[in-house]
């Protein structure tokens, strides 16, 4: 918990430093949203090895539904956000349940969720009335509130991220977390020891998907304009994978470090255009070939060696 408080203190200074540059604050908020996605993915994949290739899609379920609930149905903003996040939770829980019931391995879970991601992207393009198709959807609700400001939105998303980190840490510390880790190391042994492996998998799926749906819904109201690419597989999932690979899968602060480094590098590489994609590809290859444990584990083991 100390690590989370320290991270929070450090990150809360960012607006003071960036001042009121609209552009830089936008980048910083984007970084927070991606860090939140990465923590959610970490809960699902890092803890229970369920390869959910639908991070962007679940966030998009939250975003598009919340926008429609608020703008079309006229629900109050908080109710829309919560309802949309709950539906994303239900969907993610359903995937987890199916994967557990049919005992799908990593690759099959990956394909099923990828199929969902791509179908959802097609649905967004097809259902123009509700989504505006590729032209995007203007989100009116939230425009008069703090969620559209720079600093206020920054602190809102920071609070969301810190809450996610705290939930993740609590999960790890609880008996649920011990079960998570025991099943990650040896599933059969965990089951023999009386750990309900399936239940924990589904719980992780539910919690992670709730995080994704909520972050996606808040993002829609913050941005005020969303397109299918806001939540596209190529835009969200791939980046989250790179961030986690860099920061370290299954670590508390890995997602935050990964998102911070990635957001800055991404902006620096804006000038090189298509070569950026080449750079990400190479980064993924190098990271997974040589630094499979990520930056945070490498750093902590070095720190430990220094202290000894």
């Amino acid at each position: 918990m100390r690590a989370i408080l320290a991270t929070g203190a450090l990150l809360s200074l960012v607006p003071l430093w960036l001042g009121d540059s609209r552009f830089l604050m936008g980048l910083a908020i984007g970084g927070l949203v991606f860090a939140a996605y990465a923590v959610a993915f970490n809960v699902i994949f890092g803890e229970t090895k369920q390869l959910f290739l639908c991070v962007g899609a679940l966030a998009g379920v939250g975003g598009y539904l919340s926008a429609n609930f608020a703008d079309r149905a006229g629900w109050p903003l908080p109710a829309s956000v919560v309802a949309a996040a709950l539906i994303a939770t239900g969907l993610g829980g359903l995937f987890s349940w199916v994967a557990v019931r049919r005992s799908l391995d990593v690759i099959f879970t990956g394909i099923v969720t990828l199929a969902f991601s791509l179908s959802y992207a097609n649905l967004l393009l097809g259902q123009r009335t509700f989504t505006g198709g590729e032209n995007g959807l203007a989100v009116a609700s939230g425009s008069e509130t703090a969620i559209r400001g720079h600093a206020s939105a920054y602190y809102l998303f920071l609070a969301v991220l810190l809450t996610y980190l705290a939930v993740y840490r609590l999960l790890q510390r609880s008996h649920v977390g011990w079960a998570f880790r025991s099943l990650r190391d040896d599933e059969q042994a965990a089951e023999l020891a009386g750990v309900n492996v399936s239940r924990y998998r589904i719980q992780a799926g539910l919690i992670g998907s709730a995080m994704l749906g909520l972050a996606g819904a808040l993002l829609a109201h913050h941005e005020g304009f969303i397109t299918p690419s806001t939540y596209a597989f190529g835009h969200v999932d791939v980046r989250v994978l790179v961030m986690l690979a860099f920061g370290g899968i299954g670590t508390l602060l890995g997602p935050v470090l990964g998102a911070a480094v990635f957001t800055i590098t991404d902006e620096l590489l804006v000038g090189v255009g298509q070569l950026r994609e080449v750079a990400y590809g190479l980064l993924v290859i190098v990271l997974f070939l040589f630094f499979r444990r990520g930056a945070i584990p490498a750093l902590t083991s070095r720190l430990r060696r220094l202290r000894a």
């Binding site: 690759i107 099959f108 394909i111 199929a115 097809g126 070569l275 080449v278 070939l289």
Partner: protein, 285 residues
């Protein structure tokens, strides 16, 4: 209706050829090659560039296919070896992530260098009557090539010594080693063969519709769907699933619309995994 179904079969044969390459590599080493479609695009762009330089179409097509094979060989030697060194569990995931990275590198590089390049091979001559439907010569030639390639593959796996060696590694790697087969060189051979098949798909597809430089991801996803429905690791399954999905694709996009069709294909893959994970013709592991 006959015309739509025939078009579906033409498309389905290409789907099958696309899926076979992916399914072979998976069956042999547990790696789902997410760069499969990009290998096809490598062939398409190489052939298109050769055509642009005035090389005759047949030679350009052959050059493109060989180019895909060469890239496959390089990938196998550089990355796949270290993937195969992993124990089975880590291998699946590492294979997925590394080939995703490769897919980005190839796509990024090609789009950067040749942003508007596309391959379309124009097979001249008039239409041909088949079952009362006028078919383009390009469609017929593409289907003939796919059929010959598919038949050759089946014969190769049933009749030749090398083909039997491949099947023995798929069935039991340890046993294959005991009778003197080197799984590593068999895997290299199959990875290159799969790349060549991907290249061939780019050539045959370009006879009916252009293959742009950005087609890679769509081709990979199609290959994935075909492979899953046919059964991961099954060669005949890939062709059966390919033809079936090809017909579904044209019928659905003719009567309903394109975006629903994509969803139907993806749903077919997801449902196959949930209801019958071994696919149409795959064996239960």
């Amino acid at each position: 209706m006959t015309a739509v179904v025939l078009d579906g079969i033409v498309l389905g044969l290409q789907f099958g050829l696309l899926g076979v390459g992916l399914t072979l590599v998976y069956g042999l080493g547990g790696v789902l090659n997410l760069a499969h479609g990009q290998l096809a695009v490598v062939a398409a762009i190489a052939a298109a560039l050769a055509l642009g330089a005035g090389v005759p179409a047949g030679v350009a097509a052959l050059g493109g296919v060989l180019m895909a094979g060469l890239v496959g060989l390089i990938l196998d030697a550089s990355l796949m070896r270290s993937v195969y060194r992993q124990p089975t569990e880590g291998r699946v995931l590492l294979g997925l992530l590394l080939t995703l990275g490769v897919s980005f590198v190839i796509a990024g590089f090609l789009v950067w260098q040749f942003p508007i390049e596309a391959l379309s091979l124009n097979i001249g001559g008039g239409a041909v009557e088949l079952l009362g439907v006028r078919m383009r010569r390009g469609s017929l030639l593409a289907s003939a090539i796919a059929l010959v390639a598919g038949g050759a593959l089946l014969a190769f796996f049933r009749l030749s010594t090398l083909g039997r060696a491949v099947r023995s590694v798929i069935q039991d790697e340890e046993g294959a080693k005991l009778v003197g087969i080197n799984p590593a060189s068999i895997r290299t051979f199959i990875f290159v063969l799969s790349a060549i098949l991907a290249g061939l798909v780019a050539i045959t597809r370009s006879m009916t519709s252009p293959v742009p430089v950005t087609a890679g991801i769509d081709l990979t996803i199609l290959a994935l769907v075909v492979t899953v429905v046919g059964g991961l690791g099954s060669v005949p399954g890939a062709f059966v699933a390919g033809i079936l999905l090809g017909i579904v694709n044209t019928v659905s996009s003719f009567y309903i619309g394109q975006y629903i069709t994509s969803i139907v294909l993806l749903a077919a893959a997801a449902l196959t995994i949930v209801l019958r994970p071994s696919g149409l013709l795959g064996q239960r592991p």
